[in-house]
Subunit: 269 residues, 2 copies
């Protein structure tokens, strides 16, 4: 999942210990992490990383964006552009980091009965080859459900059999080591009823982290999702992080040079 | 150059015959083409492509973004992350297209007398290896000057010797086949006096295309830059292009579902 949460509909997550891969190098994370399409927005990786960081103060985490919106498993076939691109990104990242997790969320466009019937088999072969090429046979992989809202929105009929994909994902996780499944229960969508909305994606990321932390499926909403997000949003920003935001605002033309210099002095004081 | 032109300060360029590489596949171009940093904005590639397209109706052009803001030639050393990333992107693109040009704009952070003295030699060896690894010994390469405003802005002292980089670029173009140099005369900057502004980048792209078209240096502003841009901005959008913009506006939360559906009907009528 690249993420189509509307950016300004949730508080931002800025944390200098959370990086994203850009041109093979690590940069401080800012959303959109993916840039697969012009409408890329909030995804689930940011709150996953923030949640991870709260348990690993003093350490750094890096995100390797590889997702491409609207793609089916056929688009992800071994040796295709998406697959090879993802492998290359991860290998570039491995030059300066250790691969410690794989977050997978995909399947809306495999929701027909015909495609869903082959989901498990295709997914197995893609993941096997991914793990092989990355030398990562035991790295934890977290996979999550596609949304229960899918049949009720734009192109709803296209998604009538979405639950077959969820069954396939759940079955895969149950029958493979180092893989856990995350429920999307209660999560809601943008007005299109296709894409998870930003506040649901924040919660989804927390659930992905719980599955990662405990190496166990997450079958329900967490009892304290709002509280956990409140802590993430309420975290005090470091001077570096305040400068990072200031740089973006100035370079994007949102504040003037004099305002930029004024704010910079306040941070450095 | 990734491009830091303020996005909404110039009219957009939307053209379904102009693509950009995303995850190894071609998508309709929308700016920012680069996403190296959160402040990525307008660059020079969009108007280059639009200018190319006006001369090649019925054909398609694809852009392969590889730039990374603020980098020096040392960051681009052969075998480094940026270099290898660029090679891989271009190779992915070559699976479904033909490489027909290389646009280079870089050098601000090589502007010290010490670094500038070695610019020509380093650049030569990077370009040689780039051409070799891509099997592209004769593909035209267009290189452009860094801005005359550099010594007068934020960190101006850092850029005092910027003209040495321009001399090195000009000398390289003069002494190598399949390479031409483009002047930045008259182009202006954002308030930081470091980054070209969006309207200048639109003009710069036109100059790059002129150099590409004629396989000749462009040493002055073109006489008709405003007129050429007026034609690009005034081009009538196809139904596909209008849908593309509509999709972005809806998915970004800028218009409601009912407005989206209403507009869609108008396009399909």
């Amino acid at each position: 999942m690249a993420g189509r949460g509307i950016p300004d509909s949730v508080p931002p997550i800025i944390n200098e210990s959370i990086k994203m891969l850009r041109n093979g190098r690590w940069q401080i994370m800012a959303e959109p992490i993916h840039n697969d399409r012009p409408m890329a927005g909030v995804g689930l990786a940011s709150s996953f990383a923030a949640s991870w960081h709260a348990d690993h103060i003093g350490e750094e985490i890096g995100l390797i964006p590889c997702a491409d919106g609207g793609t089916s498993l056929n688009d992800w076939q071994v040796g295709g552009a998406l697959f090879d691109h993802a492998i290359f990104q991860a290998k570039l990242a491995q030059r300066s980091s250790q691969l410690t997790g794989i977050l997978w969320h995909q399947g809306e466009n495999d929701s027909s009965a015909e495609l869903a019937a082959k989901y498990g088999e295709k997914f197995d072969s893609i993941v096997n080859e991914l793990r092989k090429q990355l030398g990562a046979p035991e790295v934890p992989m977290i996979i999550g459900a596609i949304g229960d809202f899918l049949p009720y929105g734009l192109f709803g009929a296209h998604f009538n059999d979405y639950h077959l994909v969820n069954s396939a994902l759940q079955k895969y996780a149950a029958s493979h080591n180092n893989c856990n499944f995350v429920s999307a229960k209660g999560l809601t969508a943008n007005e299109d009823q296709i894409h998870f909305n930003a506040s649901s994606l924040r919660k989804f990321g927390l659930r992905y982290y719980q599955a990662f932390l405990n190496a166990a499926d997450v079958t329900e909403a967490l009892p304290d999702e709002d509280e956990l997000l409140g802590k993430i949003y309420g975290r005090e920003l470091s001077p570096n992080e305040r400068k990072f935001i200031l740089d973006i605002n100035f370079a994007s033309g949102k504040i003037s040079l004099s305002e930029f210099q004024h704010q910079l002095k306040l941070i450095d004081k």
